[in-house]
């Protein structure tokens, strides 16, 4: 399977200082962290970066995070992070970080999950798996692209739906535990996936799936069953 986009080796190899400028709460357990990175080389929606924190004794912790912000946010990037139980890095972000703090980042990394806005995009995410997909949706909106884009986003309940206020007609939310009045509760199913595949835009969908491994397995099987070609399903999983 080909990568989508050639990436710059030079940007990927270089650690840069990122200064935290803003923290926005998304849900009780999720917040968005905005950084100024003046030398940021730019990225494509769907790409990720590596982030490094350094302790006073020289110990470092590094993690991969998807970029939430669209490419046109010049000199700034945003990450949306879950507060992971016992999480070493996410714990620092959620309990300690404040504007003015500096961390290090390198990237953007990998062209595989990237979406430049050229092909119809069918996006399926669960929990914080929606983050790289939101970069795509924001890119689609800010550039006024007319290539079709659809988003299926799964959350346990409305209060855990990240970016809830930003979704429009392109998005279908699926609630697995608790739903607003009149909205069914249940796992993502063929009933949501099949109509989108039936819509089939010219050239077909490029499918992007992001979420836990269990969700990614489930969603990718639904796509295959509904007729999406295996080699046009891109998956980003987290453990």
């Amino acid at each position: 399977m080909p990568g989508r986009i050639a990436v710059s080796d030079r940007a990927a190899a270089l650690w840069q200082t990122a200064t935290l400028t803003e923290i926005r709460r998304e849900t009780p357990a999720v917040a968005t962290f905005r950084f100024a990175v003046p030398g940021w080389a730019g990225h494509l929606p769907g790409q990720h970066l590596m982030l490094r924190l350094t302790a006073g004794d020289g110990y470092t912790a590094q993690r991969h995070y998807s970029l939430a912000s669209p490419p046109d946010d010049a000199g700034h990037i945003e990450l949306t992070l879950d507060h992971v139980e016992g999480g070493e890095v996410s714990g620092w972000f959620h309990t300690e970080a404040r504007p003015g703090d500096e961390v290090e980042v390198r990237g953007p990394l990998s062209g595989f999950f990237a979406w430049p806005g050229d092909r119809p995009a069918l996006l399926i995410g669960a929990g914080s798996g929606v983050v790289p997909l939101m970069a795509m949706l924001r890119h689609h909106r800010s550039r006024g692209l007319d290539v079709p884009l659809r988003l299926l986003v799964s959350a346990r309940g409305p209060e855990e739906l990240i970016y809830a206020a930003e979704y429009g007609a392109e998005t279908t939310a699926v609630f697995t535990r608790r739903a607003p009045e009149g909205v069914p509760v249940g796992r993502l199913s063929a009933a949501q996936v099949a109509p989108l595949l039936a819509e089939r835009p010219p050239g077909g969908w490029e499918a992007y799936v992001c979420g836990s491994n269990a969700f990614a397995e489930h969603a990718s099987r639904l796509l295959v069953t509904a007729g999406q070609p295996v080699d046009r399903i891109r998956i980003e999983r987290f453990g």
Binding site: L53, T54, A55, G58, R63, W92, S110, N213, L223, G239
Partner: protein, 201 residues
Amino acid sequence: MNVTRGFTGRPRVHLPGLPPGQYDAGDDWPVLSAEVTPDLAPADWTFRIDGLVAEPRSWDWDEAHGLPASVYEGDIHCVTSWSKFGVRFGGVSLDAFLDVVRPDASATHAVAYSHSGYTTNLPLADLTGGRAWIAWEYGGRPLPAEHGGPARLLVPHLYFWKSAKWIAGLRLLDHDEPGFWEQNGYHARGNPWEEQRYSGD
């Protein structure tokens, strides 16, 4: 050193087997494939070695299991920064396969490819000398499909994207040919101890 204000890291003991920039994933074993997990039964699995070899050949499940069993017990390291200590894989040493096909003296590299279409490149020297396996058991049980079952390549001294899941074959070459992640910005070799994560490291 750019110390992060207020960051101390989790309480830790010195772990001699932990390469720089890695953390101990404990019991977790994250799944990081970029593609759909293929529906591949052992009866449909084959493994082929060709390219610069004296006798190209393929093995099916039973033929591969007829080679001498070999176990890897040790650690594995993923470029996304988790490491996993004390894992146990069962399978066959890649040397046993290579002894049959007899690589040409001109062979310097290999491209490993999967039944899913995934590829990764390796220096031949990283695949010989008891350092690489075709593995089909994990912890004494069949290797789960999401981790590459029925059989995967195992090259534990390199970052784990080199250990191609659902391994279908090796093509031996006289030059290096970047694979899937290597074309997407990852390092050509991927030695965890030298932190060869991305191209340019």
